[in-house]
Amino acid sequence: MPIENATARGAAPVTLYLLHALGASAGSFDRLAERLDGRVRVEGIDLPGFGSLADTTDSSLETTVDHVVAQLAAHARGRWMLGGHSMGGKIAGLVASRVLRGEAPLVGLAGLVLMAPSPPRPEPMDEERRERMLSWVADGPISEQDAETFLEQNTAAPLDPRAHEKALADLQRTSPAAWRAWLETGSRVDASAEVGTLDLPVLVLAGTDDADLGAAAQPGLLASVYPRARFVPLDDTGHLIPLERAPEASDAIAHFVADEVLLGPVVPEDWAALLAGDRVDSRVRGILNLRAIPDDRGYAPATLDLAQLTLLREIADLVVPQDGPAIDIAARVDAQLARGEGDGWRNAELPPDPEAYRAGLDTLATIWPTDPATREEVLRAAIEGTTDAEGPLDAARVKLWLEDARNDLVRQWLAHPASMARLGYDGFATGGSPIRGYVELRLGRREDWEPAGVGGTVAAGDAA
């Protein structure tokens, strides 16, 4: 099925796929697409029973999620985001959770953009209102009059004529069955267990004049689902954000993308295709998808204090120099320490890992130069056990701790799928059913499924 929205154009570093609201269509995002052109590529996706797919009979939540996954699998490449408006927000959460569990043939999800989203839990909705809306489709499609009522109830101020006309048309062509499916079932489903907690960059836009899904309500509905959510209220705005506030929403999205999404390395296209394919088990894909999520620029350290984390980042830059967009491996080590994960042992001279990190960093801090050019020499002396620093750890222990720290830092770097691609390691793609390993083991040869970047030439027929 083609994606109906034709407004996407130009080459932008990231694509935002958007799922529309009840009674709307992909076209409801046209204005966002125009405004974001050149910064973010916006693609709306029509959902079953709506827009160009109004004739589709099955509009259940499961079918809708499957439909979105299929659309994304056909189109999403490189780094991309997913988002949704109202009903589309709940579906976006379900799709994102599936992607991050590795249960979809998708990699590259880097953030969510939600506009007045319906939450994973049952949507708070006045029962009288639900009944009234259901009555609009009792005898067939929504009438023009009821559509007008709907728009009036969901906007802070009348829409401009062009947007108004388009919204009316979308409402009237909506499949009555799809309208009912959402109001009677989809909105009531409790998907919070399935969606779980998704720790990725999330922007939540909500209107101050919206009711149950407005700016005041959203943090309570979503903060536990999306711990990184950035909530942006839009003044004098009702429920129909993409139609009511395209300029403001576009600016918020552009800022969000620049600040939180376009960070860290991107997995090369042929490696992403391999990761998405059936040689990779869901669990492995899920693990790698989580690791590929952009780091939280505002990461609040859980084991170290901010000064210690800053110093660890500066050490990380020297121990594991990253020449492209960098992974915040120091923050990842802090999180690892907070989870209590080590490597099963430590040198008997050192205190437990979290304490060793704090003590080691505090020791080095006493002599750490502000001039980056001289840091390498200071670190070298510390690694070699000859540091002059005087603090909680003596020079011998600083050396031992730095061995652990170097190891933790490089392992965090290497665990990222972009690093694996860089090193030419494709051993994660030895899954599937039945499990497939390697047929070609020889020097200088690779198999036809392997990315060219692993090096070597594809073996001719004699390999297998």
Binding site: A348, E403, V410, L414, Y425, G427, R436, Y438, L443, V454
Partner: protein, 516 residues
């Protein structure tokens, strides 16, 4: 392993035997005793893993390793965790490398031969007969004939040679060193395993250390444990033994383990400890048992496992295929040796995180040089050793003041390579450099490493000089037995698992004849 039909025993029943640990030490004995009609409960600290639970991702795969912290000291602190310590039903055989050289009979009589180290109080012929039985039980692949033992037969053709193996072979050929495809407990054709079902053939994924997902690699979880369960043994997983109770005579009467948040007591007539070279002595030191002579924890042994990596012009990509698919036993007694014992040589492929750890810890690398070596890693092939280690009273396991999540003091292991280990390592390093240069390496890199956790509860004929007798029975407590690599009097150069399993079958027989 399907445990649905497993027989279970009430905890107030006095079972014949409790076995602590389900790895190479505990499982064969559990199966043997159960087959003879004894009531046996095997208690395992880790969880039961289905094949689908295993993952090739190195970071996530540590769930099959013993990750609860151990402290390591001495001049050459040995690495634990994924390097050598397993946790789960199947023990370290979930993560082991499946490299299965047979123990060399000369290593078992090293003292007689050289005046160094220890002789094993075990008849080499008897042990080797058990070794052959184990090979049949678990399925071992390897070359026939085997160059260093022409009478030997392997039931399965060798694992496919990978690029590092071919390069090391080239280097060996140039130097006139004999090499062969390595004996490996990895099936090269499917096999119907008794009481378990079909085990698949190796798919050359290279991820043995992350746990075999096709059951081609033997572990006790796909061999002895299903046989034990079929014979009526019970396996209790996720149960951490932390106390041993004695009766008025000073005999073991029960063990106490922590499971699902509560302490459970299991009464027993005999106790067999099979937790390995760290957990077995830790439990004995913690309970204060079987240690009147102060021998528990002494003589910790670690194999020298130095690696040499060579960089080649073409991509090697040694993460493909069975990692150590070539062996040479030529260095078991080198003519120019200035040390006792010898070392086995193997080719090496490696997974990236494991390699990066060796670069950092063994090579001391960081910064641009570290990144350069990682970038080059796909062009690197390795060669490594497993080297004899002589017992030393300075190398020992003790309890730290710090406790673990169960309130048991953590193990603190101190290890310093002695003169013999150093001389051996020097010889081996020079040899490996020659091989890699002869193989055409553009440059080479030496990475220091040790492997395996051995010793600490050694067998001895003289009761003052060890923890257990030549049968594996405690010198002090007559119904306490130890059956794992902690009883090894010396390290011997062969990788330990095959020998541990052979010893386990032997201990089972000794146990049965002692009871008869």
């Amino acid at each position: 392993m399907n445990l649905d039909a497993m027989r279970t025993f009430p905890t107030d029943e006095i079972v014949d035997v409790v076995v602590v640990g389900t790895g190479a030490g505990g499982a064969p004995l559990t199966a043997e005793l159960a087959k003879k009609g004894l009531s046996v409960v095997a208690i395992e600290a880790g969880r039961h893993f289905a094949l689908d639970d295993l993952t090739p991702d190195e970071t996530a795969a540590v769930e099959i390793n013993w990750m609860s912290e151990r402290l390591s000291g001495g001049d050459d602190p040995t690495t634990f965790g994924p390097n050598n310590s397993g946790r789960g039903v199947g023990g370290s055989m979930l993560h082991w490398g499946a490299f299965t050289p047979r123990p060399d009979r000369r290593d078992l009589t090293l003292r007689t031969e050289t005046g160094e180290g220890r002789d094993w109080p075990v008849d080499p012929d008897e042990l080797l007969a058990y070794v052959e039985r184990v090979e049949g039980d678990i399925g071992v692949s390897g070359p026939t004939p085997y160059p260093w033992d022409p009478s030997r037969r392997y039931a399965y053709a060798p694992a496919k040679r990978n690029a590092p193996a071919n390069l090391v072979a080239k280097g060996c050929d140039a130097l006139g060193v004999t090499w062969a495809d390595a004996p490996a407990a990895v099936l090269t054709r499917a096999r119907l395993q008794d009481h378990h079902g079909e085990r698949g053939a190796c798919v050359n994924c290279g991820e043995c250390h992350q746990g075999c997902r096709v059951d081609a690699k033997a572990s006790t979880a796909n061999t002895y444990l299903p046989a034990a369960v079929a014979a009526g043994a019970e396996i209790r997983a996720e149960a951490m033994v932390h106390a041993i109770e004695l009766d008025a005579r000073g005999h073991v009467a029960a063990v106490v383990y922590h499971q699902n948040g509560v302490d459970v007591r299991q009464r027993c007539r005999s106790l067999v400890l099979a937790g390995g070279g760290v957990e077995t002595p830790r439990l004995l030191l913690h309970t204060g048992l079987a240690n009147a002579n102060g021998q528990v924890g002494r003589n910790f042994l670690a194999h020298g496992a130095t690696q040499v990596w060579g960089r080649f012009d073409e991509p090697v990509r040694g993460h493909r295929g069975y990692p150590s698919s070539l062996i040479s036993e030529d260095m078991m007694r080198p003519a120019d040796a200035d040390f006792a014992g010898g070392y086995l040589v193997q080719s090496l492929g490696v997974m990236p995180l494991t390699f990066s750890t060796t670069l950092v810890r063994g090579g001391g690398l960081w910064g641009p040089e570290l990144m350069q070596r990682l970038e080059q890693s796909r062009f690197m092939a390795g060669i490594g050793i497993n080297a004899e280690c002589l017992p030393s009273d300075d190398n020992r396991l003790e309890l730290a003041s710090e406790t673990d999540e169960f309130g048991i003091p953590r193990a603190r292991v101190s290890f310093t390579a002695g003169a013999n280990e150093k001389a051996l390592d020097q010889h081996a390093t020079a040899f490996m450099l020659r091989v890699m240069e002869a193989a055409g390496a553009r440059e080479t890199m030496v990475l220091a490493r040790t492997a395996h956790t051995i010793g600490t509860c050694r067998m001895s004929v003289d009761p003052s000089d060890g923890v257990v007798d030549a049968d594996g029975r405690s010198h002090e407590i007559p119904n306490l037995w130890i059956c794992d690599n902690s009883v090894f009097p010396s390290a011997i150069a062969a990788n330990p698992a095959l020998t541990i399993m052979a010893l386990s079958l032997r201990t089972a027989d000794r146990f049965l004849s002692s009871a008869a």
